[in-house]
């Protein structure tokens, strides 16, 4: 079994979101970078569980980014995985990133490619499906459970208004969400071991980007809360009916 887990770095979930340079750049000063939670908690941990069950599994991690990503990659390696690959390029858009990952994966014989369902910064939810499209592999989005029996995977995926149990032959690409695995905290042995695991840096291939971010903006600030006395919830109902006209 050979598994590739696609990871990405994102600002910490509590990071202050602000922009500079005429709203063209995200302010990175003081921002803690973490592994994208969907990549970490669900994709990576599920892949680690597979390797724990079958230690002959080769588990590789891949990230597209500059040298500033190495600390986050080491954190991922502290959780598990044999080695990491960093494609040394600024991620321009989801198609560009997917093209770089597909290029590394092409012909490398991966049975499973795991991604998180989306990143918590750009919320594109696109890279996994694009890798599948580029490699002409099936893509299971929003997977909440994954089981393997020989060459066949059984998954539970979220569909409109419910869930589906599906089976599909390997190889395939999976977008992982809550339910796939439980969050783990790396132990000391993992953290020490991560330092000596190979982190290969490869140069990018020529690839297009289809889109480009022009500017950012923050949502309008709320006017402030209108408080209703606790002994008079009828007033809240009146406000929602007459003022907000929502009920």
């Amino acid at each position: 079994m050979k598994i590739l887990v696609c990871i990405s770095k994102t600002p910490d979930t509590t990071a202050k979101i602000a922009f500079t340079d005429n709203n063209r750049k995200f302010v990175t000063e003081g921002v803690q970078w973490i592994l994208n939670p969907y990549d970490e908690w669900y994709a990576l941990v599920r892949a680690i569980e597979i390797k724990e069950k079958d230690p002959s599994t080769a588990l590789h991690l891949i990230m597209v980014g500059g040298a500033d990503c190495d600390a986050v990659i080491r954190k991922a390696l502290a959780l598990g995985g044999d080695e990491a690959i960093r494609v040394n390029a600024e991620p321009r858009d989801s198609f560009y990133v997917a093209s770089q990952i597909a290029n590394v994966a092409k012909g490398a014989g991966y049975d499973l490619i795991f991604t998180g369902k989306e990143t918590i910064d750009f919320n594109g939810a696109s890279v996994g499906g694009m890798i599948a499209g580029l490699l002409e592999l099936p893509f299971i989005s929003l997977a909440a459970r994954f089981d393997l029996s020989g060459n066949e995977a059984t998954l539970i995926r979220e569909i409109e208004g419910g869930e589906e149990t599906v089976s599909v032959k390997l190889p395939l690409v999976i977008g992982c969400q809550k339910g796939m695995a439980e969050q783990r905290i790396p132990n000391m042995k993992g953290i020490m071991g991560a330092r000596s695991k190979p982190l290969k840096v490869v140069e990018p291939v020529a690839a297009e980007s289809f889109t480009e971010i022009v500017s950012f903006e923050l949502p309008p600030v709320k006017k402030g809360v209108k408080l209703v006395p606790a002994d008079n919830p009828e007033e809240l109902v009146r406000l929602l009916h007459e003022e907000a006209k929502l009920i």
Binding site: I120, D121, T154, S209, I213, V214, I247
Partner: protein, 321 residues
């Protein structure tokens, strides 16, 4: 040239999110001076021609029953084929579970730039600029699509459904449907419930509700308001409520017209999933709860005392005994 809109359905009915996508696509077609066409895969019980009243001129159909279930590979192949024959330069779909499954593959196949989760009509006077949510609802960004063909997936509940006059021409496409790559073994759908991502009103409970046995009033209030129920992460993690009700940064992101949060303090991770709600009501006994800063209306007090009074006031308003 045309705008091609993917029309999704469930249980024989066109989805509300698809009506939003049709209206969005029709407005975009008008804006760019091209016709609006739809594509529907599988079978529905509704009269498709009447969808013309939402501003769509033609609907391409592939009426094979096997397509009533999500088959991403076939959907991508068929939509791409129809996009080619009708010369679609813009493809519109909804940023729903189905949209997530097919839009990236469509982008690759059509070499078309994709913006997921759009929140407004594109700016097309100079270039093609689409606004979308980023940082899990904490900000917006404007994205320029540089390719000739463009794909937009529209966030649910951001574009109004408006009806006018007209009927759509139905074109049955003769496109062969191959065997599925992914075998569907079982499907479980909650029928009759209001989908959390589509709901206009959501009533949500947090740790302040103290235990799963106390959810009765939340469910009752939701039912009275035709609302969906939701919960915070600790509630889902404790198993008080199912995971598919968890809204927040790592759960589902929603944007209802009205979000009523009961016993939820409003951690930044929770806000990330709900701050696109148009109006937020917070009921919490802690006046320092951070959620009040993001709320439009609030009550500081004990939910267990407030809820029964709130429910009877809503009953009175709705004329329910």
């Amino acid at each position: 040239m045309s705008v091609l809109i993917f029309i999704d359905h469930s249980e024989g009915k066109i989805k509300k999110t698809s009506l939003e996508a049709i209206c969005y696509g029709a407005a975009l077609a008008k804006q760019t001076g091209v016709p609006a066409e739809g594509i529907l895969l599988g079978t529905v019980s509704e009269d498709l021609g009447s969808l013309g009243k939402y501003g769509i001129q033609k609907i391409h159909t592939v009426s094979q029953e096997s397509l009533n279930q999500l088959d991403a590979e076939q959907y991508i192949r068929i939509i791409s084929t129809v996009a080619g024959t009708c010369g679609a330069t813009i493809i519109v779909l909804s940023h729903t579970n189905t949209g997530r499954a097919i839009s990236p593959g469509l982008s690759v196949r059509l070499k078309a730039g994709l913006v997921t989760g759009a929140t407004a009509l594109p700016e097309t006077s100079a270039g093609f600029l689409v606004k979308k949510n980023v940082f899990s609802g904490k900000a917006f960004c404007t994205v320029s699509i540089k390719t000739d063909t463009k794909i937009i997936s529209l966030n649910p509940n951001v574009f109004p459904v408006k009806t006018g006059e007209g009927s759509a021409e139905i074109i049955a496409e003769n496109i062969p449907v191959g065997p599925p790559v992914v075998t569907i073994k079982s499907v479980s759908k909650a029928t009759g419930e209001i989908l959390l991502t589509e709901a206009e009103i959501v009533v949500s409970g947090g740790r302040g509700m103290k235990g799963p046995e106390n959810w009765g009033p939340i469910e009752e209030l939701a039912k009275l308001l035709h609302a969906a129920t939701a919960c915070s992460r600790p509630v889902a993690d404790a198993g008080w409520r199912p995971h598919n009700e968890h809204v927040g940064q790592t759960g589902i992101a929603i944007a209802p017209n009205l979000y009523i949060a009961i016993g939820i303090s409003g951690a930044i991770q929770h806000l990330a999933g709900v701050n696109r709600s148009k109006v937020i009501v917070v009921i919490n006994k802690d006046p320092e709860a951070p959620f009040f800063k993001s709320a439009d209306y609030g009550i500081v007090g004990d939910a267990f005392e407030i809820l029964p009074k709130l429910i009877s006031a809503v009953k009175k308003l709705k004329g329910v005994a």
